[in-house]
């Protein structure tokens, strides 16, 4: 009878370990992001991969402002007056321009109001855009799954330690700490640097 109990206990322990391993490896997977639905079906992949356009060509405010900025409709038209002018999506663009109307892009990346994030300082520190925004160059339609998730918190609570999802505080802090340790950079870790 004792032996039986021992085998049972061992089984339970093994099962627990198995579950732990399974859950923690699952929890370290980046979440699958749903592509956003945009007024114009803009493919980053074409612009970045095919035409090798630099991110900051369009998002030109990133190096000098808190915001990365969106290209003005005029800038889009600069190329698309000729390039692909006959494509249906480009026609939509031309219509916006003709109406002198801004394109109502749908916001994908969003930080809470109480968080101050300057693109400028990160560009100055030569942080790659992809570090935060994912492999944009491979995206047909821009997609991201940033922000805290309940599942993540619950896993933390249960003692697992999943990688924090992108654009959450833990994720920012990880990177700042890494930078400071590795390259003797001065990425601020002061609370009020971002929260003021």
């Amino acid at each position: 009878m004792g032996a039986k109990a021992g085998v049972g206990a061992l089984g339970v322990v093994l099962l627990a370990v198995l579950i732990f391993v399974a859950v923690s490896s699952w929890s370290r997977q980046p979440a699958v992001a749903r592509p956003s639905v945009q007024p114009i079906d803009f493919p980053h992949v074409v612009h970045v991969q095919t035409y090798k356009i630099d991110c900051q060509y369009c998002h030109s405010d990133a190096r000098r402002s808190e915001y990365a900025g969106l290209p003005s409709v005029e800038r889009c038209m600069g190329c698309h007056k000729i390039t692909g002018a006959q494509l249906p999506e480009i026609k939509k663009l031309a219509e916006y321009f003709a109406r002198k109307e801004p394109i109502p892009w749908v916001r994908v990346n969003k930080l809470p109001e109480f968080t101050y994030f300057p693109h400028k300082a990160h560009v100055r520190a030569s942080v790659k855009c992809q570090t935060c925004h994912g492999e944009v160059e491979k995206m047909t339609t821009f997609a991201a799954a940033p922000g805290p998730r309940l599942a993540n918190d619950l896993l933390n609570l249960a003692g697992f330690r999943p990688a924090p999802p992108p654009l959450t505080m833990g994720w920012c802090v990880d990177c700042h700490r890494e930078q400071n340790a590795r390259e003797d950079k001065k990425a601020p870790l002061d609370c009020v640097a971002c929260h003021h």
């Binding site: 805290p148 993540n152 918190d153 933390n156 609570l157 003692g159 330690r161 924090p164 999802p165 959450t168 505080m169 833990g170 994720w171 802090v173």
Partner: protein
């Protein structure tokens, strides 16, 4: 006077008498329950309004950023202390008179702590983020500040609630087993589950008794620590009138004092309505009265020390604060407190008063009022006249905070009223222990 029953009850009598308290209640009970529930509903309504519109609904302001909620929080924590004291400390001291009141006192402890535990939530400006105070791994990598007395509070009070609850449940197990064996139907099934299969076998008793002693040994320092920690909420602060090393013992004593008053307030009606005169006897009342008297005298000593310290230190801020408290806007509350806590209990020097239920009842109510005002006097007037004259100001209670404080009393009594009809409010086992065990051969006698 003699309310001593003619015959000593037998073991079977104990079972019968205690189980009788659990009989289906009458209209009067439900009437009381309804009144209490209605008041509680009012309190909940006020709380909802406060969460919706903001903490400004309560009368708080600069300089009284704390007021009635913390007052009542400390009051309820204090009430809880007598229960643990009776069940643990008196157990360790083998004070056998505790047995007939300890169950009620312990239940009181838990309900008082449950009530008190609501107040930090009610008090917080953003109660929906109160979980920030708990240490748990999160994606922000943030932890609470363990240097803050409020985090000590979280630990002290949750430990206190856990240990008190465990202690209470462990004490209940043999009694629930007795209930199980005396009841039928669905009640029996529920009690059977709660009794954990208790049978009273020698092996069970062996570990039970050891564990019980250890619980008592753990609960004793705990109870002292809890109110010390609560006192440090104030003593660790800089505010004149708070910043004092005297506070920990002062608070603990006050807590026991008010706790005993609350025990009397709860037990005397129980004895009256359930006819438990055979178990809650004059000697019990006498012992409680004496304890109230002693703690009152100690408290008086602390009050005097407080005044003495303020005067003797020569500290301008302390002196100014003291003189203001004694003479200005809230002076009535201070003098009321002195009367209730220092003067009223002196009547217990009279032997007859110590066993007179009406006298005990009236004094206990006064003590409860006095002790509530003690906390009020520590918090509100001290803050009113702090370091900075620019912001000196008078706190005026609003309907919201008054309603919530009254609602908290309703919540407590609701829990207690429910308890006395669902659980044995007298410990069957421990009462039996105090009775002479049944002997066929009376020569053996009752030697304990």
């Amino acid at each position: 006077m003699s309310d001593q029953p003619t015959g000593t009850p037998t073991f079977a009598d104990v079972n019968r008498d205690v189980l009788r308290t659990l009989e289906p209640p009458g209209h009067r009970y439900f009437a009381w329950m309804s009144v209490v529930a209605l008041i509680l509903a009012g309190g909940i309504l006020f709380w909802t309004g406060q969460v919706w519109w903001g903490i400004g609904m309560a009368g708080k302001r600069v300089p009284q950023m704390w007021a009635l909620y913390i007052t009542t929080f400390v009051f309820w924590i204090g009430i809880g202390h007598a229960g643990t004291l009776i069940s643990a400390v008196l157990y360790l001291f083998r004070a056998r008179w505790r047995t007939s009141i300890y169950r009620a006192a312990e239940a009181m402890t838990i309900f008082a702590v449950l009530t008190a535990g609501l107040f930090p939530l009610i008090h917080a400006g953003r109660m929906w983020f109160a979980y920030f105070l708990l240490p748990y791994p999160n994606q922000r990598y943030l932890w609470p500040n363990f240097r803050s007395p409020l985090v000590w509070d979280v630990f002290a009070i949750s430990t206190y609630l856990s240990i008190s609850t465990v202690f209470f449940i462990v004490g209940l197990v043999p009694d629930i087993a007795a209930l199980r064996d005396a009841s039928t139907g669905w009640r029996r099934r529920i009690y059977a589950l709660l009794a954990l299969g208790w049978e009273g076998s020698d092996n069970q008793w062996r570990h039970y008794r050891r564990a019980y002693g250890l619980f008592a040994a753990l609960a004793t320092p705990l109870v002292l620590s809890v109110h010390s920690v609560v006192s440090w909420d104030f003593a660790m602060a800089l505010v004149p009138g708070w910043h004092s090393t005297l506070f920990a013992p002062f608070f603990v004593d006050g807590a026991i004092f008010s706790g005993f008053a609350m025990v009397a307030v709860l037990v005397l009606p129980m004895r009256h309505f359930f006819g438990l005169h055979a178990y809650i006897r004059d000697k019990h009342l006498d012992a409680m009265s004496k304890l109230i008297l002693v703690t009152s005298l100690v408290l008086t000593y602390f009050y005097l020390s407080e005044i003495f310290t303020a005067l003797y230190s020569g500290d301008h801020f302390e002196k100014a604060s003291l003189f203001w408290k004694v003479t200005r806007t809230y002076a009535w509350a201070l003098w009321l407190m002195y009367f209730c806590n220092c003067i009223a209990p002196l009547i217990f020097f009279v032997k007859k008063a110590r066993t007179h239920p009406v006298v005990i009842y009236v004094v206990s109510i006064l003590v409860l009022i006095g002790m509530w005002f003690e906390r009020f006097n520590i918090i509100v007037p001290s803050l009113a006249h702090g370091f900075y004259p620019y912001t000196w100001g008078i706190f005026v209670p609003s309907p919201t905070d008054t309603g919530i404080v009254i609602g908290s009393f309703a919540w407590f009594f609701l829990l207690f009223l429910g308890f006395i009809k669902l659980m044995p409010s007298l410990s069957i086992v421990e009462v039996k222990e105090t009775l002479p065990p049944p002997m066929r051969d009376t020569r053996h006698g009752a030697h304990h």
